[in-house]
């Protein structure tokens, strides 16, 4: 029986093709927004979380800037040597590493590319990188301090300098360096596409003497993390108050757990915003369906009368219209998902081309997103058809038959 309703619904949708497509478009837009934006933000989530979760729990991060504001990391604020020393003086701190980065032209053989250079103080930081941040070479060996050695990220031999291998030489700012090894993947494309320099070498090629947008701090084994964090804060406050003469030191110390929580909060807000925004779009689409279905009921009044005359009960008439509106919803959802996934891919591509974005995003379309978008658009279609279907079902057969 449902098959017949389906057949009639499909014929009706096709018969009024333009109106049907416009109605479907209303749902497509909503579903499109949900799918494209959520899958991008899921991608962001995964990229950031992957990076954060790789970090050991005894690692804390110090960033300049007010409050829990992750954008400070990208805002050009830096920790200077004075602050780095203050961090190192704090009780419980084992190692404090500056890890600045910058885009630079790098030449290998005949090719020259703009590459992200990333500094690691090999003298003090090799152990932190290898044991606490999970860095490992898949080819060659780890760079040694003072040897003008660099390590290239996992994707560099594929995407940037195809064929580059340990033992090769690269030139940056007129200085030559030897590639000692290739890193295993660090979990995101941006990191994997960078070249790691020893901090003194980095300073030399970038012409900087101090400053880092982030400090990575390892707490001594067995020392309480929260206590160490407050020691670092106190130590930094003294330096900053003394230097600036005001009482508003501007920095944030984050444990890896706090970082994860912060990022989760931010992403949660972003996703809630997306859902609310797209929800309004879908609601407008639903009103469109309702409008179309009411029009359809009016146009098909006579048909409804005929169906009733030949024995259709109220439930049959309702079902006929509900199947149609549900199908409009479902079709809209389906098309929204397809175009949304396409747009997310496109967005990912555009973001990848932008060197200022540090986290590379791989659009994620989890099953639940597809499933719920489909389910929701179908249910919304049915819901929008509910009132029109009710009106159709309640038409008086005699009056409906006389309707012209």
């Amino acid at each position: 029986m449902i098959k017949e309703y389906f057949k009639i619904a499909v014929r009706n949708i096709r018969k009024r093709a333009l109106r049907s497509w416009l109605t479907i478009l209303g749902i497509v837009i909503g579903a499109f927004l949900v799918v494209s934006l959520i899958s991008l933000s899921e991608g962001l989530n995964k990229a950031v979380m992957g990076e954060l979760q790789a970090v050991g729990t005894n690692i804390v991060m110090v960033v300049p800037g007010e409050g829990m504001d992750i954008t400070a990391m990208f805002g050009g604020l830096e920790l200077k040597n004075q602050e780095m020393e203050a961090i190192r003086r704090a009780r419980g701190v084992d190692v404090a590493l500056e890890m600045p980065w910058q885009m630079k032209n790098v030449r290998w053989r005949q090719t020259s590319e703009s590459v992200l250079l990333w500094a690691l103080d090999l003298q003090t930081g090799t152990d932190v990188a290898r044991t606490d941040m999970g860095w490992d070479v898949r080819e060659g060996s780890f760079a040694r301090a003072g040897r003008r050695e660099v390590i290239v990220g996992n994707l560099v031999p594929q995407n940037i300098f195809p064929g580059i291998e340990p033992g090769d030489e690269i030139t940056v700012s007129g200085r030559k360096f030897t590639v000692s090894g290739v890193l295993r993947s660090l979990g995101n494309r941006e990191d994997d596409s960078s070249i790691i320099f020893d901090l003194p070498d980095y300073r030399a090629v970038t012409g900087t003497v101090e400053g880092t947008p982030v400090a990575i701090v390892r707490i001594q084994d067995g020392y309480d993390i929260d206590l160490a964090i407050s020691n670092i804060e106190r130590s930094l406050e003294e330096v900053m108050v003394r230097r600036r003469g005001d009482d508003s030191p501007s920095f944030t110390v984050l444990s890896s757990e706090a970082m994860i929580e912060m990022v989760e909060n931010i992403l949660g807000v972003i996703q809630a915003g997306i859902v609310a925004f797209a929800g309004i779009a879908i609601l407008v689409g639903a009103i469109g369906i309702m409008n179309t279905m009411f029009t359809s009921v009016r146009e098909r009044t006579k048909e409804i009368g005929v169906l009733k005359a030949v024995g259709a009960k109220r439930k049959h008439i309702s079902a006929l219209f509900l199947v149609e509106s549900g199908m409009i919803g479902l079709l809209g959802g389906l098309m929204g998902i397809i175009t949304g996934l396409g747009a997310a891919r496109l967005g990912q591509f555009v973001l990848d081309q932008n060197p200022n974005i540090l986290v590379s995003i791989e659009a994620q379309a989890p099953f639940y997103l597809i499933f719920y978008t489909l389910l929701f658009s179908f249910l919304l279609g049915c819901l929008s058809g509910l009132l029109p279907a009710r009106r159709a079902a309640r038409l008086d057969p005699v009056e409906a038959l006389m309707y012209e």
Partner: protein, 226 residues
């Protein structure tokens, strides 16, 4: 003739309220129809003949009085119960055919059986047989816009027969077709009568009187029989 009439109208009144005025269309009609009768209901427009047909065919319920179908008081039934009775017992043929334009002839004919919950194979077979019997075996997959007026009315007759009803009601069945086609349509209805079905035709066309066993005239909501 059986002892109990197939259709019995007992002091049936039908009043429509138009604005503040009550318009009495049927003014206390008593009528008995035996199974297997061929009735032509004649009357000018506005006489109440369509309203009478609607009440007799369970499309409408009287404002006052009772309608019995096979002994059952159908004036007490709700809308869905009436739909069930119509689907099982009554076949409708309309002046304007009233086919669904986006469905094929075959699909149109099967439709009433869908609401009776018949299986797909059952309905398709019967619908094909019926279309064959009205001479449309070759035109089953055509949609109504591709058919002539006479063909459409034959599809409509086939549709009225899908659930094998005892009663066929036809409102001006020849009203939209030419004279020759009209004769063919009446021929088919006569055949159905000979199969034992009750045929009730509403018309203002006096030529149809020749086919009838019984002619009922209605004027101003009151019957007169000849």
């Amino acid at each position: 003739m059986s002892s109990k009439p197939q259709i019995k109208l007992d002091k049936v009144k039908k009043t429509y309220r138009i604005g503040k005025i009550d318009l009495e269309v049927l003014k206390g009609i008593d009528l008995e129809v035996e199974a297997g009768e061929f009735i032509v209901l004649l009357g000018p427009s506005g006489s109440g003949k369509s309203t009478l047909l609607n009440v007799m065919s369970c499309l409408d319920v009287p404002t006052e009085g009772h309608v019995y179908l096979d002994g059952q008081d159908v004036s007490l039934l709700n809308e869905d119960q009436l739909a069930g009775v119509r689907g099982r017992k009554i076949g409708f043929v309309f002046q304007q055919f009233n086919l669904l334009h986006h469905l094929s002839a075959l699909e149109n004919v099967t439709l009433p059986a869908v609401f009776q919950g018949r299986s797909e194979s059952q309905r398709k077979k019967r619908a094909a047989d019926l279309l064959e019997s009205v001479g449309l075996g070759e035109r089953m997959d055509h949609t109504p816009p591709e058919l002539s007026g006479g063909e459409k009315q034959r599809v409509a007759i086939a549709r009225s027969l899908i659930n094998d009803p005892e009663i066929i009601v036809a409102d001006e069945p020849t009203g939209e077709v030419d004279t020759d086609t009209g004769k063919k349509i009446m021929g088919i209805l006569t055949d159905l009568h000979e199969e034992g079905r009750t045929i009730i035709i509403v018309t203002h066309d006096l030529e149809l009187v020749d086919y009838a066993q019984r002619v009922i005239r209605i004027r101003d909501g009151v019957l007169s029989e000849k």
